[in-house]
């Protein structure tokens, strides 16, 4: 019954030499690639903080809530741009979230089968349009429409709110918000669509089998199931909006200051860096721009970590 044990060779020397080397080589290649990725992240962070060091030591944390940005007096602060970034990103997110979820629901549940794939592909294509092209479209098409149609319309209904009052303009926060909405929506909707399509069939049938309508099933079963994943997608979307420079620069008016109206110009962290780095007149200004970049870097890391934490927690709770 038992095989003659001397005939069974378990020794690694039996493997071909090239085979053994190949396995080791494969490990090193993949390890090197991983290290490069981590190394680049660290190198960028080091460089940004190194460049920002003079501004950090001169202005300290007070930089975060200073409204100065004056190249003549060499006084700089980030508050205007933090405000511009926060308002443009969050309002864009607030508009994009329901639209994205609606698109995703339509494409997974409601649209006829033959329509789903082509329309889904088109939405994906939208996410691939370079931001500079969207920005250009923002200048040429969106801005004039905002000035002549959208802002007068909002003003006539909501003009009593300071956000929707003031002089109409083709550049400013509102066009920036709309451009960002257009950029976030395809990302969030395609992730949401993926999530919705993975809701187990058993769950859907379970809900319908007790007499739920399609909408009750979506609200009671599908959305709770994908909710955390959609929140993670929204965080990734807002991360994209926060970091977007070019398209925002093109339509926001690149003017420092905090204005109560969405119709007025503003500026964001990313947009300020992109628009001023070339023309910076002093080392301190360059350093202050690097300080803005450092804030942006920390923000984007936080957004990504937040999204990952949510996804991981959900995966764990589902076992």
């Amino acid at each position: 019954m038992a095989a003659d044990s001397t005939l069974i060779v378990l020794d690694s020397s039996q493997r071909k030499r090239s085979d053994r080397l190949g396995e080791r080589g494969f490990l090193y290649v993949t390890l090197a690639a991983t290290l490069v990725a981590v190394g680049v992240l660290v190198a960028i962070a080091v460089k940004v903080f190194d460049l920002a060091a003079p501004a950090i030591s001169k202005f300290g944390v007070g930089f975060l809530w200073s409204q100065d940005w004056n190249a003549v007096t060499n006084r700089f602060g980030a508050l205007d741009f933090i405000y511009g970034t926060a308002v443009s990103s969050l309002v864009a997110l607030a508009i994009a979230a329901p639209i994205s979820i609606a698109i995703a629901l339509f494409l997974t549940e409601l649209a006829p089968k033959w329509l789903r794939t082509p329309v889904g592909a088109l939405v994906e294509v939208l996410s691939g349009i370079p931001s500079v092209v969207i920005g250009l479209w923002g200048i040429l098409v969106l801005g004039p429409i905002v000035e002549s149609q959208v802002e007068p319309f909002l003003n006539s209904f909501l003009g009593w709110i300071p956000l929707f009052s003031g002089r109409y303009s083709p550049v400013g926060l509102l066009p920036a918000i709309l451009v960002l909405t257009i950029m976030i929506t395809p990302i969030v909707s395609s992730i949401s669509r993926e999530l919705l399509s993975r809701v187990p069939k058993e769950q859907i049938e379970g809900a319908l089998a007790i007499g739920a309508t399609r909408w009750e099933m979506i609200r009671g079963v599908m959305l709770p199931y994908v909710g955390p994943g959609i929140i993670a997608a929204l965080i990734l979307g807002v991360g994209r909006a926060v970091g977007e420079a070019i398209a925002v620069t093109q339509v926001i008016g690149t003017t420092a200051g905090i204005r109560s109206s969405l119709f007025g110009p503003a500026d964001t962290l990313a947009s300020r860096i992109a628009s001023q780095y070339q023309g910076a007149v002093s080392n301190l200004q360059v350093s202050s721009l690097a300080y803005l970049a450092a804030i942006l870097l920390v923000l984007s890391l936080l957004f990504n970590l937040g999204a990952q934490l949510i996804v991981r927690r959900v995966e764990r709770s589902r076992g």
Binding site: E205, L208, A209, G211
Partner: protein, 284 residues
């Protein structure tokens, strides 16, 4: 009856059939009168011209080899096949005399009267309480919610095991408990019929026994149709048994109803050779 249920194929003797109470056959009320029901997936015929009555407060079992359309058939009874866009139904399913596939029939209303329990336990990722309360809420049965939840759990023989942890997740229960939770969920909305699609096939033998005991109790109040690939199970729980088979004649592969009779007859004196081969273990 010297044959034990655990050794169905040891010889050709019929499987043990448990004693059951049955109303007199002359006074049986018909809940479903299925007439020449066929279903196509696209151009492929899946089940062909099924004609079968299903009686009130009876347990009716649908048995047969894999792929013979038992599940497809039972899913026609609560219009669950509507979810498959390419599925097309012909023939009639008369439910208390109304055609379920009539032009004005709302499948949502159909499913409120005809509940379903699935092969794989599928509780919602909600608390035990909310798994049952959710259906009640969407159906507008919001009064005495706590009582209704308790009653449903009691009827599903789960109350004693979960009464102290109604707020914990339904997914934290064992497989057998999850399936009883799903039965409770179906019962809670006070249906008339409960369809069960291989409800114990994913469960261990002890959990299976509990589900079968439960089926016995539930038939006092409900009409039950159960698909099973387990012949002993059909013999143990069902009053009536329908044997489905795959008809491969004329180049087609469609599920057909071979024989339908009282369970005792199907397992002891089947009229059709194919039924006999199947229940005695020579085939399938």
């Amino acid at each position: 009856m010297d044959d034990t249920p655990s050794t169905p194929r040891s010889d050709l003797k019929p499987i043990q059939i448990s004693e059951r109470t049955r109303p007199g056959s002359s006074t049986r009320d018909i809940v479903f009168d299925v007439q020449k029901l066929s279903l196509h997936y696209g151009s492929t015929l899946a089940i062909s011209e099924i004609t079968v009555p299903i009686y009130k407060n009876h347990v009716t079992a649908f048995i047969g080899p894999s792929g013979c359309g038992k599940s497809t058939f039972i899913r026609c009874l609560n219009r669950m096949n509507d979810l498959v866009p390419i599925a097309r139904v012909t023939g009639q399913v008369l439910y208390h005399g109304q055609d379920l596939y009539g032009p004005t029939v709302d499948p949502v209303q159909v499913r409120r009267h005809i509940g379903m329990v699935f092969q794989k336990p599928n509780p919602f990722p909600k608390s035990i309480y909310d798994n049952i309360a959710w259906g009640l809420k969407i159906l507008g049965k919001k009064d005495n919610l706590d009582d209704r939840v308790e009653q449903a759990l009691r009827k599903a023989a789960l109350w004693d095991e979960v009464k102290d942890r109604l707020k914990s997740s339904g997914l934290a229960l064992s497989g057998g408990q999850q399936q009883r939770l799903c039965i409770a969920r179906a019962i809670a909305i006070e249906p008339d019929v409960i369809l069960m699609d291989e409800p114990a096939s994913a469960l261990d033998p002890i959990s299976t026994t509990r589900i079968e005991d439960l089926i016995h109790e539930l038939k006092q109040d409900y009409t039950i149709a159960i698909v099973t690939h387990n012949m002993q199970q059909a013999a143990r729980v069902a009053d009536m048994t329908a044997f489905f088979s795959l008809d491969v004649s004329e180049g087609r592969r469609a599920g057909v109803l071979v024989e339908y009779d009282e369970t005792t007859t199907i397992f002891t004196r089947p009229a059709d050779k194919r039924t006999e081969d199947y229940v005695t273990g020579r085939f399938g």
